[in-house]
Symmetry: C2
Subunit: 414 residues, 2 copies
């Protein structure tokens, strides 16, 4: 039997046990895992160096190597995050509703784990620990499939974590890593409906699209965000500029960063240069429509692709619109339903924006950068859902649960 | 452009408008649709006769022809169900949670429509009206793909309904039917992620599996139920027999009917013949394991497939088990996570069954036949979800919604 099938079977059997583990048992395991990361720092850093060496030989960029690197401080942070997850409320067993029917049946709806989660992700080794801790806390078994570029780090991390589990009541198969990182094996994973209950892809757009297109297992789609800031005619000038600069530049590589700024023509007439200067001061380059180009020659012609693209870089598409309607049309056409913001002092326009924009999160007078499990107060995040089924927006522990109806009767028949 | 793409595009544009329609507008449309069904009875019955004629020529079974047939009374029922949906609470706009963050952001989570629902279903024409009304009430556009055997009936029903919508503020593209019922077009529909937000297949296992396997659009999987009744050693005799007979025979063709009865050996020692006689009196035939065959020669040898099969017929698989553990193992191995029942007076066993069985609904001392949107008090049902993501068990209007975070700020940046 292949490594994939062997581990998937074990995960399924393990999920059955995990669903019945108490909060105390799960928390004790999380704390043991935290201790183990600290005790095994030398081993983990030594194994991580093997990945870094390969990455260097492959000419990987400095920023990617930085994301791949484990340091003593980063291991401290990972241990701390495990402790924090142990302190979160356990969603399993939560009573969501209960009702009594006229025939006397009493029906409780409670939260239960999803079962087995297949996690397919790219380079950063901290995702190995994040995903493991959130899946464990929510009573799920996880089958991790990281990237080949982090394989030594991931094998070492899962080894340390599994050794820690041996000292607890949680079976070690709760957290398993696929050592075979071939594309073929990943594809095989997409259709293992018999063993996996859900797939969560985390990484670039092409990884996510490949999973969405090819998986027969339900997928929690995460990530792609072509987010807009619409500056209404009534927008407060300083606020609008501060939010636009923040949403674009504070961390351009993430999905909740803004990619397009839409500016109402009346606001633009007085404040466009000010906005552009402050963006440029923060290193931003521009593409735009003809109206913006007529105002400022730093702006290059935007292509159709530019309006749709997630730059993930210090680049912004900028457009002058004649009305809020034009802004709503533009977002409808090019938006990815992630996070959209209106900066305005006009209540009617805000109400229209909230009502008519279809997105996971819509903002009034705030940066799109807040679409995040920690910023929303969930204490953790497995990803940001950009689909409409099951979970939308930042996903915390609750997104890793399903429900079960518990029905008490005394002989009812139909 | 093909019929499919033309209608899918229209549905997407329409969904944008529908999301902003008020409850009053939607209810007025539902009532107009109800009136129209009554006013156009002659036309609808005439068109339905064409389908029945084709079915007869094809040698379709009497029971299938019965399900296909529209009568004056059935149209009354369909009109009445439209009126009932108009009286249900509108889920759209419901405030699910709201919270304030330390930085002053105020976050509301509200219900919104899913968008465009692709409904793929088999023969019964009443599904055309059920699906249309539930999608409309929840603010979704629906693209219906019924079976070719009901095509005249479905075209007529949708024509009548669309004519009714012309007298309302709801656009007629809210409810569209694909007149092309080829398999190729249905397959093309599976991957129209650009236009459709979710697919709901309703029908036989092979239809559902085909959608689950081939769709890249998120699917709400419905239907297949291999449900068990476990009669514990402590079970009340009359209650156990009454529930087993009800769960098997009251309507054997549905997914929440029981397919396997597991009997504890101690209970079986005294009451097995009684149970078998009452099932046999209701026309049930039997397959079973060796222990049951030794007790009663009406029982044929069960194959491995029998334990896994959804008979949907007056046939039951029956097995004697030595303990609750053996029953739990059997259900874990063969169950489809739909509905499972324990008949017992032993509280500890009931607690174990509720805790350890992973299913949409678990019952104590009641028939599995209650897993149903109406029986659960939802007032409507679009299907019974057998998956763990998004919705599990009977799905009412809420299952046809997603959520949106509405964030109010006053200049917050990260």
């Amino acid at each position: 039997m292949s490594e994939l099938i062997t581990k998937a079977k074990k995960a399924k059997d393990c999920a059955r046990l995990l669903a019945t583990k108490t909060t105390e048992e799960k928390n004790a395991a999380l704390l043991k895992m935290a201790d183990a990361l600290l005790n095994e720092k030398d081993f983990l850093i030594k194994e991580n160096k093997k990945d870094i060496e390969v990455a260097r030989q492959n000419g990987t960029s400095t920023s990617l190597i930085d994301r791949l690197t484990l340091t003593s401080e980063r291991l401290d942070d990972m241990a701390e995050s495990l402790r924090q997850v142990s302190e979160l409320l356990d969603p399993v067993g939560e009573l969501l509703t209960n009702f009594k029917r006229p025939n006397g049946l009493s029906i409780d709806k409670i939260r239960v784990p999803l079962g087995v989660i297949g996690m397919i992700y790219e380079a950063r080794p901290n995702v190995t620990i994040d995903a493991s801790s959130l899946c464990l806390k929510s009573g799920n078994a996880v089958l991790l499939r990281g990237s080949s570029s982090a394989i030594h780090s991931n094998i070492a991390l899962v080894k340390v974590v599994q050794n820690a589990l041996k000292e607890t009541t949680i079976p070690i198969d709760a957290i398993q890593l696929l050592e075979d990182t071939s594309r073929e094996t990943a594809s095989e994973m997409f259709t293992l409906n018999e063993y996996l209950d859900v797939l969560i892809p985390r990484g670039g757009a092409s990884l996510i699209q490949s999973v969405v297109k090819n998986a027969s297992i339900p997928v929690l789609e995460t990530g792609v965000g072509n987010c807009h800031i619409y500056i209404d005619e009534s927008a407060n000038v300083e606020m609008a500029i501060e939010i636009a600069v923040n949403a674009k530049t504070q961390r351009p590589s993430v999905c909740n960063a803004a990619e397009t700024i839409l500016v109402h023509q009346d606001w633009a007439n007085n404040h466009f240069s000010n906005l552009l200067n402050q963006l440029a001061d923060n290193g931003v380059s521009f593409v735009g429509d003809e109206r913006t180009q007529a105002k400022d020659d730093r702006i290059k012609q935007a292509t159709e692709l530019d309006w749709a693209d997630e730059f993930l870089d210090l680049k912004v598409a900028i457009k002058i619109v004649s009305s809020i309607d034009e802004a709503l049309e533009h977002i409808y056409k090019y938006g990815t339903k992630h996070s959209e913001a209106i900066i305005s002092e006009n209540e009617e326009h805000v109400a229209r924006f909230f009502n008519e924009i279809d997105a996971a999160a819509v903002y009034h007078n705030a940066s799109t950068r807040f679409t995040d499990g920690f910023e929303f107060g969930f204490g953790a995040e497995i990803g940001i859902s950009t689909q409409k089924l099951h979970a939308r927006g930042p996903m915390g522990l609750e997104a890793l649960t399903s429900t079960k109806y518990i029905v008490h009767g005394n002989g009812q028949v139909k």
